[in-house]
Symmetry: C2
Subunit: 363 residues, 2 copies
C-alpha cells in the first residue's frame, strides 16, 4: 500500500500527432493549420507547437491573443502565426517584435488600425461573417472596401456555427454565404472556412486552409458517429481515504447526498481547484482498475475544491493510494462533458492550466 496525494494529468503527444496527421490527410490538398489558442486548449502550446513543427511540418498556427503568439514564436521559427483577436493598441508592440505574427482583421475599426500601423512583409487575414454572428465583416462593410483595401489581405476566412451537426441547415447556409461573399469581394484570395468539425462535412468545406483544433486534441467534433480520433488526455488521482458511510449520513457541502443504505466511500485527491467541473456533483463517474476489471463508481455529494467523494460499495479490495481514473480512453473528456452538462472543450481548457497536477507528456 502507498500513501499518495497528488493528481496526474497525462498528455499523449503521440496520439495528438497521429490525430493531426489523420486530419491533414483527410483535408488534402488544403493546408493544415494547427489551432493552439488557449495554451493549446490547456495542453501546453509550447509542447504542441514544437511537436507539430518538427514532426508534421506544420507551418501555420492560429492563436487568439498576440501574447499567446509571442510565447510560441521561438518554437516555430519559419511558421506563420495568425492572431484571431487581431491587432490593437494593447498588442502592437508584440506584433512589431514578432515578425511571424499576422493579425486577423475582424471589423472596419480594426482595419483602420491596421492601415495606420501597417507592418512590413505582413498581410492580414480578413474575417467575414457568414452566419455565426460573432466576429467578422458584415456584407455592407465589405461593400465599403475599396479595391486598394482588398489588396491588403492574404487570406479570407469565416467560421461555422454548427459544423458538429452534419445535417444542420446552418452548414449549407453558411457555405453558400461564404462562396458568394468570397467570390464577390475576394475572388483571387485563398480561403479558409473549416475548423476540425468542418473537415468532416466534406471537400466543399475545406477550401485552401483548414484549421485543426479540437479533433487534434482528441475531441469528437463529429459526434453523430464514433470518434475517429485517438484520446489524448488522461486524468488520474490517488485514493486518500476509504471509509464506511452509515445509513442516514450526509455527504459533502450543503449535505446534498444522503445514504439510504450503508455505503462505502473513497475520498479522492482532485476537485474543482484542479479543473474538475463542479457540475459533476452527484452525477460524475470515477473508475478503478482492480484485478484486471474496470469498476465504475459514482461521485456523491458536491465536488469540492480539492476532493471528491465516490461510492465504492461493492468494489472489493480498494486501498488507500490506489488510482482513480477521472478521464481515460474508456471515459473521455467528451463523456465527462456530457455528464457535466457542458462540452469537453471547456473541461480540457480548465484541466491543463492547473499547476497542482503531476504533468506527464507521453511521446
Amino acid at each position: 500500500m502507498s500513501v499518495l496525494t497528488q493528481p496526474t494529468l497525462e498528455i499523449n503527444l503521440g496520439c495528438l500527432l497521429e490525430n493531426f496527421l489523420t486530419l491533414q490527410k483527410l483535408s488534402k490538398p488544403s493546408v493544415a493549420a494547427a489551432v493552439v489558442k488557449d495554451d493549446a486548449y490547456g495542453l501546453g502550446a509550447k509542447q504542441v507547437v514544437e511537436l507539430l513543427y518538427k514532426y508534421a511540418d506544420c507551418r501555420h498556427f492560429f492563436v487568439a491573443q498576440a501574447v499567446e503568439g509571442e510565447k510560441i514564436a521561438p518554437f516555430a521559427d519559419k511558421a506563420v502565426i495568425y492572431v484571431l483577436q487581431g491587432m490593437g493598441q494593447d498588442n502592437l508592440e508584440i506584433f512589431k517584435q514578432n515578425p511571424q505574427l499576422v493579425p486577423v482583421v475582424n471589423c472596419p475599426e480594426a482595419f483602420e488600425f491596421w492601415k495606420q500601423n501597417r507592418l512590413d512583409k505582413r498581410q492580414p487575414v480578413i474575417h467575414i461573417e457568414t452566419g455565426l454572428n460573432r466576429l467578422g465583416f458584415r456584407e455592407h462593410e465589405l461593400e465599403a472596401l475599396s479595391q486598394a483595401d482588398k489588396k491588403e489581405f492574404s487570406l479570407v476566412m469565416s467560421h461555422l456555427a454548427c459544423g458538429d451537426e452534419k445535417d444542420h441547415f446552418m452548414n449549407a447556409y453558411q457555405l453558400e454565404n461564404f462562396k458568394r461573399l468570397k467570390n464577390t469581394y475576394f475572388p483571387d484570395l485563398p480561403a479558409s472556412l473549416a475548423a476540425s468539425d468542418g473537415i468532416f462535412l466534406g471537400k466543399d468545406f475545406q477550401w485552401n486552409m483548414v484549421r485543426l483544433g479540437a479533433a487534434m486534441y482528441g475531441i469528437n467534433t463529429a459526434p453523430y458517429r464514433e470518434n475517429q480520433m485517438k484520446n489524448v488526455v488522461s486524468v488520474t488521482a490517488p485514493v486518500l481515504q476509504i471509509a464506511d458511510l452509515p445509513k442516514g449520513q450526509f455527504v459533502g457541502y450543503s449535505a446534498t447526498y444522503r445514504a439510504n443504505t450503508n455505503r462505502k466511500v473513497a475520498i479522492i485527491s482532485i476537485g474543482y481547484g484542479d479543473g474538475l467541473p463542479r457540475s459533476l456533483s452527484n452525477v460524475g463517474k470515477v473508475f478503478f482498475k482492480n484485478g484486471g476489471v474496470l469498476h465504475e463508481a459514482r461521485i456523491i455529494g458536491r465536488v469540492s475544491m480539492d476532493n471528491i467523494i465516490c461510492d465504492i460499495t461493492g468494489i472489493d479490495n480498494l486501498q488507500v493510494g490506489d488510482t482513480a481514473y477521472l478521464a481515460a480512453d474508456f471515459y473521455t473528456l467528451d463523456d465527462m462533458g456530457r455528464d457535466a452538462g457542458t462540452i469537453s472543450y471547456e473541461i480540457m481548457s480548465r484541466l491543463g492550466k492547473n499547476p497542482r497536477f503531476i504533468r506527464k507528456y507521453i511521446k
Copy 2:
C-alpha cells in the same frame, strides 16, 4: 476610439487585507490562519502570502498540496504551513526540504506513514470527521489510537458541511460531534473547526484557530444576509466589434439564440478559455459604463473559447474598444455564480489561472 484585444483581471489586495483584518477581529482571540490553497483561490498565493505575512502578521497558512506549500514557503519564513492532503510517498521530499510544512493526517494509513517517516520538530494535525463525510478519522479509528499516538499531534481539526446556512441542522450536529470527540480523545489539544463561514455562526464555532479563505477573497460565506466583505476581483474585457443582428438571424455555436426583432450586438474579447463559465450562455450579464450610467446587457448564444456576444440594443454610443465589465463591485463573482448555476469559489479558482489576462494587483 481605441482598438483593444486583451481582457484584464484586477485583484484588489487592499480589500483582501481589509477582509482578513475584519475576519481576524471577528474571531479573536482565535488564531487567524489564511487558506491559500489552489493558488489562493486562483488569485496568486505568492502575492497573498507576502501581503498577509507582512501587513497582518499572519503566521499560519493552509494549502492543499505540498507543492503549493513549497511555492509559498520563501515568502513566509517563520510561518507554519499546514498541508491538508497530508504527506505521502509522492511529496515526502518536499516536506523534508521545507521545514515550515506540517502535514494534516486524515486517516490511519496516513498516520502509519507519518510514524514511519517522522520529521524533526514537526507535529502533524489530526483531522477528525464530524458529519461532512469527507476526509478525517472516523470515531472507531480514534478509539484505536494509543495514548502515545495521540501525543503525536499539535492540533485537532474538522470542517463544516453547511456553515453558509445559518440555521442548518448540520451545524449544531457537527459542533456537538466535534466537542464530544475532541474532549474524549484530545482534551488537551488546541482545536480548529471554522473556516470563513463558521466564524459567522458565533463564538462556539471559533475554537483556537479559524481558517480564513473564501470570505477573505470577498466571497459572501454568509449569504443569508448582505455581504460584509469588500469585493476583491474585477474582470473587464474590450469590445472587439459592434454589429447589427437582423431579425431572424442566429447567434453563436449550435445557433441557440435567434433574434426575434432587429438587435444590436457587441462581441467581447473573453470566453471560457479565460475562465468565464460556459454555463453563462444565454443567461450571463455584461455591463457598460456609458455617460456616467451603468448599462446591463445579456449574453446571447453560447459562450465560446475566446468571445462572448451580448445584446446591446438600446445602449447608445458604445464603441469598439470600450470596456465591458464582467465582474465588479456591482456584479460580483457571487452574482455570476448564481447566474452560472455554480458558486463563486469555482469561478474564482478558474479565472485567476488564465495567462491571457492582463493581471493587475492593486494595493
